[in-house]
């Protein structure tokens, strides 16, 4: 069974600071996604990472993928309050074909 682990699960950071969220997964996969969820809202797609070494950036967020280490990172640069949300990584279980396995999410609070 594919396991997806995120850490930290809770993160409180000051505006202007940098931080990284980590996503480890347990089996081979060729797709990794990052989603953002605001309280009581739906999931918004942030990044799709499809190959080893893939790096994508949007504003203050940058995501990377190391398939050999089975690790993805979401780096936050100079955090602002608007980034406060829960961030999920999700990994495709290549054996299953279509199901995404989500991590538990990282609740980020920027103060």
């Amino acid at each position: 069974e594919l396991k997806v682990e995120q850490n930290p699960l809770f993160l409180s950071m000051q505006e202007g600071k940098n931080y990284t969220i980590y996503c480890n997964y347990s089996t081979t996969s060729d797709r990794l996604y990052w989603y953002r969820q605001d309280p009581g809202k739906s999931l918004e797609s942030l990044f799709v990472l499809l190959s080893n070494g893939a790096v994508k950036q949007e504003g203050r967020l940058m995501a990377s993928l190391d398939t050999k280490a089975r690790l993805s990172t979401l780096h936050i640069t100079a955090a602002v309050h608007d980034l406060s949300a829960t961030y999920f990584c999700a990994v495709d279980d290549s054996n299953s074909g279509y199901a995404l396995n989500f991590g538990k999410g990282t609740s980020l609070l920027v103060t």
Partner: protein
């Protein structure tokens, strides 16, 4: 921008009753999904649907659950006899291809009393 729409936004039902949650995926998408999220917990996969049949289902998706795409636009999730533990936010999602992101609807909050 096209959206996945779900109705109702909130459904309250009594234990043992049947509920149908409705979704209209993005029109040119081919793959459809139901996920659920119990309050404050992680998002859990229920079922995927492609080419008018179930592609995969999780252990959660037991005989009480079924999905249909009755008319080429709607995609429904039926729970035949609801239990208290079915209370959750149910999200529908769709995508045009395996390497594209899933687009999620705003969810239906199901409360079973």
């Amino acid at each position: 921008e096209p959206e996945v729409t779900q109705t109702p936004s909130h459904q309250v039902t009594q234990m043992g009753q049947e509920v149908i949650l409705r979704c209209v995926p993005i029109s040119n998408h081919l793959y459809f999904y139901w996920y659920r999220q119990i309050l404050g917990q992680k998002v859990e996969f229920l079922v995927s649907f492609y080419n008018n049949e179930i592609s995969e289902k999780s252990e959660i998706f037991d005989d009480q659950f079924s999905v249909e795409r009755p008319d080429g636009s709607n995609f429904t999730l039926k729970i035949r006899s609801t239990k208290l533990e079915d209370s959750a936010m149910y999200f529908c999602a769709s995508t045009g291809g395996r390497y594209s992101p899933l687009h999620f609807g705003n969810g239906t909050r199901l409360t079973v009393t």
